[in-house]
């Protein structure tokens, strides 16, 4: 696997849209060619080289291309946009849309990632070692097709509206999550190791949420369904089981109504 290292040298006055920073866009290109790719600061389009130093060169395909992003990219959006293979490592924190619409490959953000990370993710792995912003792994506005595959791991806390319209895949939050988890979800699995606030699983049709910590306010649409011994992400424990959203429509499988499940560690 070949490696490209891009280093921020001239941070933008406003914000930078770098939707070309993905193994797919870099594949088969030399450092010089990569420096010619477009980036956008507001309505001004310029080249990558104006903001970044580029060293190394990409592999022939996305799959054998690794990108390392160094320097201050806190005000850079769209890193890993639509990536399908290869690796992308962001050594610091980044702004919105990290790994948005990604379908494969591995993306690692060592700092924080702002809102809309992993939007409508279809596959691959997105790891955020710091905190994630709002709408992590959620659907784009108006779309009923949210995260459908892949895995998101957040080592810190996550914002609100994570997993909205989730259809599949897995999301693990080691810290706490803000309001609204898996709203409208029809599948997938979300594990919150810390605390959840409120409005957890609202309008959920199908799918599963595990909460290890506390939930400030339960949705009235989630009905107690006893206790159960489970092993979740390597942790064996007793969980209070709730089914819901009892106010929402649900599919039937073999004549049985299928509810969404919420498990809260006791």
């Amino acid at each position: 696997m070949e490696t490209v290292i891009i280093t921020m040298k001239n941070p933008p006055a406003l914000y930078l849209e770098a939707d070309n920073v993905s193994p797919d866009a870099f594949a088969g290109k030399t450092a010089a060619q990569i420096a010619e790719l477009h980036v956008h600061e507001g309505n001004v389009t310029s080249t990558f080289g104006k903001y970044f130093d580029v060293s190394g060169h990409a592999g022939a395909t996305a799959a054998d291309t690794k990108i390392i992003v160094k320097g201050d990219v806190k005000k850079v959006k769209y890193l890993g946009f639509k990536m399908s293979a290869g690796e992308l490592v962001v050594e610091g924190s980044t702004d919105q849309y990290a790994g948005a619409w990604m379908t494969g490959g591995k993306m690692l953000v060592k700092g924080n990632a702002d809102a809309f990370a992993g939007t409508a993710m279809k596959g691959g792995e997105l790891t955020i070692e710091g905190n994630a912003g709002n709408y992590l792994g959620a659907a784009y506005r108006g779309d009923w097709r949210g995260m459908s595959g892949g895995r998101i791991l957040v080592k810190g806390n996550a914002g609100s509206d994570i997993g909205m319209y989730m259809l599949g895949g897995e999301m693990i939050i080691n810290g706490n999550a803000d309001v609204h988890v898996c709203t409208h979800a029809e599948g997938g699995k979300v594990i919150i190791k810390g605390n959840a606030k409120s409005k957890v699983g609202g309008q959920m049709v199908d799918g599963t949420i595990y909460v290890f910590g506390s939930i400030d306010t339960m949705m009235p649409g989630f009905k107690p369904a006893g206790e159960i011994e489970l092993e979740v992400d390597g942790v064996k424990a007793k969980f209070a089981h709730y089914i819901g959203d009892m106010g929402e429509r649900h599919k039937k499988k073999k004549g049985q109504i299928v509810y969404a499940n919420l498990y809260k560690k006791i």
Partner: protein, 570 residues
């Protein structure tokens, strides 16, 4: 205005019976003429196909429900928005394009006239603002009458003359074009959460049936002698077995003759017939009844139809058939918008995905093609997708490919997941007819123009007619190597002229033209009773005043083209 001569093209013009002969088309001062001076700009159409600008008889392209579709479907635009380009404004939207994109896409495909199929009268000012912002193409809009309180109250007592006077008033104040009926009585019933699924279901409270509304409106339409006939979306759309309601509806036209000065021969236009030609009792035994419907239409000259072809895309359904959209959201659980309109009508919007992997969708696709292939007279059957209901209008080139190439149809049938079901529930597999370019010109130009009462103005290339001309990169002398070449050729014109102005060159917009709004001004005898009734309804039941109801002012209809009708002597 500049002069043009389009040389050596293969001309297809049903109006003059020209079937592909090499012929020059001369343009001067916005009209087709016999000859032009030597200074005329020469367009070389050698090896190309030349037709009149195409005429869209039924599409939902402007107004409240279309814009509701735009407002509530950002995902329909995701990654598809296009930048400003020369004189082209920004565009966006797959199934519900912005107004600018709508005008440009029609023009690039050679369409120069289009009809908005359902205008809620209360919202006419909105419809006209969008029409104003849709460049190039001439547009008209059909106000809906089938659930209108005035109409139902007059027709309950068989008051044809009052109905006619009211229609004349409403078409004038809304700057409308024709009498549209959608699910007669059913949408009023929907205001109470109910519906009328047959022509004999009584309308709640109003003590009238859909059948009485339909026949009464045909009579009133012919009493006035409007350019277009009653334009109907019958009851019971989209349900298995609905073809029986469709036949019951068509039979209501029996005995009526067209009375008008515009050369129109039909008294009823059945729209998106595909949605009304279903057999079976449920989605399992769902089957085509295209033969039953087309047999009836073939043997009854006073009816025209359009197809409503399913294009197998993700799209957005929208109709004044409020109860149908509620039914649909129950089937696919996708977002549902509904707009009931006081005293007049209603509408609903729901996204829909016509998946080639779902047998019902594949059968709908087949029915949409069976109908034009089974229709004997192409002058009475017009190609539509009921945009955006069965698919976006931007798919016309693909529909044309399927109609002109049995090979293309076969390839699609083979690609279906439930191929066998499609073949057993329809007769698409046994239809080897291929629509000729001449028939295509009938189905997309001369036919719809005649049905709309515009035969003397557009849809043909006869000297004296508007110079709406489309030149396609399609050589009729050469055998079609690959059906996809047909789709490609009809997607982007080499040249398009609108009223004598070159608006498209090599598939690119070169002028925003002089877009016109077509409307019908009908004069009737003074009718104080109807005027009193109107006044009373506004005082008591409307939520706005009568004085603010009319679409007046330059910003609503900046460039009108008025068809004058005098019904005072009837």
């Amino acid at each position: 205005m500049s002069e043009y001569i389009i040389k050596n093209g293969h001309v297809f013009d049903p109006v003059q019976g020209i079937k592909g002969d090499k012929k020059d088309i001369a343009i001067k001062d916005g009209k087709i003429v016999d000859k032009v001076g030597s200074g005329a700009k020469v367009i070389d159409a050698t090896g190309k196909t030349v037709m009149a600008g195409a005429v869209e008889i039924h599409a939902h392209i402007a107004g409240p429900k279309v814009n509701m579709g735009r407002i509530y479907r950002p995902e329909d635009k995701l990654f598809t928005c296009t930048p400003t380009k020369g004189m082209e404004r920004m565009g966006g939207g797959n199934s519900i394009p912005t107004t600018f994109k709508t005008g440009y896409e029609y023009a690039k495909m050679g369409y120069t006239t289009a009809m908005e199929a359902a205008m809620p009268p209360l919202f006419s000012r909105h419809v006209h603002e969008e029409i104003r912002d849709t460049p190039i193409i001439d547009e008209g809009a059909f106000p809906v009458f089938g659930n209108n309180w005035f109409v139902m109250e007059y027709l309950k007592n068989k008051e044809i003359e009052n109905t006619a006077a009211y229609i004349a008033w409403l078409i004038r104040v809304t700057k409308g074009y024709a009498v549209k009926v959608v699910n007669p009585g059913g949408t009023e019933a929907w205001a109470w959460g109910l519906n009328c699924l047959s022509v004999n279901d009584p309308v709640p409270y109003f003590d009238i049936t859909p059948a009485e509304i339909i026949t009464g409106l045909i009579e009133a339409n012919e009493y006035l002698g409007l350019p277009h006939s009653l334009h109907i979306h019958p009851n019971n759309l989209g349900n298995p077995g609905c073809y029986e309601t469709t036949l019951d509806t068509l039979k209501l036209a029996e005995g009526f003759k067209a009375k008008n000065k515009f050369g129109r021969e039909q008294v009823m236009h059945l729209t998106h017939s595909q949605f009304h030609s279903y057999g079976g009792t449920n989605w399992g035994d769902f089957e085509s009844k295209a033969k039953e419907v087309t047999d009836y239409v073939n043997s009854h000259k006073n009816i025209t139809i359009d197809t409503g072809n399913v294009t197998l895309d993700e799209t957005t359904t929208m109709t004044a058939d409020g109860p149908f959209e509620h039914h649909l959201t129950g089937l696919n659980n996708l977002k549902w918008a509904n707009i009931d309109v006081e005293l007049e009508t209603g509408s609903g919007v729901v996204p829909y995905i016509y998946s080639p992997n779902i047998s019902v969708c594949a059968i709908q696709w087949a029915i949409g093609l069976e109908i034009p292939l089974m229709m004997k007279d192409p002058m009475r059957c017009y190609i539509t997708t009921d945009h955006p209901n069965a698919g976006p209008f931007t798919r016309y080139p693909r529909v044309i490919k399927w109609l002109m190439s049995a090979k293309a149809r076969e390839a699609q049938v083979n690609a279906f997941k439930h191929k066998d079901k499609v073949l057993s529930q329809t007769s698409i597999g046994s239809l080897d007819r291929e629509i000729s370019l001449y028939e295509l010109a009938q189905m997309t130009r001369a036919g719809p123009a005649k049905s709309l009462g515009l035969a003397s103005m557009c849809g043909g290339l006869k000297p004296g007619m508007d110079a709406d001309v489309a030149v396609y990169n399609f050589n009729p002398d050469k055998p079609v190597a690959n059906p996809d070449d047909i789709e490609l050729a009809f997607s982007r014109c080499a040249h398009v002229f609108k009223s004598g102005v070159e608006v498209v060159t090599n598939g690119e917009i070169v002028s925003n033209g002089h877009k016109r709004t077509l409307w019908v001004n009908v004069k009737v005898k003074d009718n104080p009773q109807v005027m009193r009734d109107i006044n009373e309804k506004f005082l008591k039941y409307y939520s706005m005043t009568q004085a603010n109801y009319e679409a007046l002012g330059h910003h609503f209809v900046p460039n009108p083209y008025t068809l004058e009708v005098d019904a005072t002597q009837v």
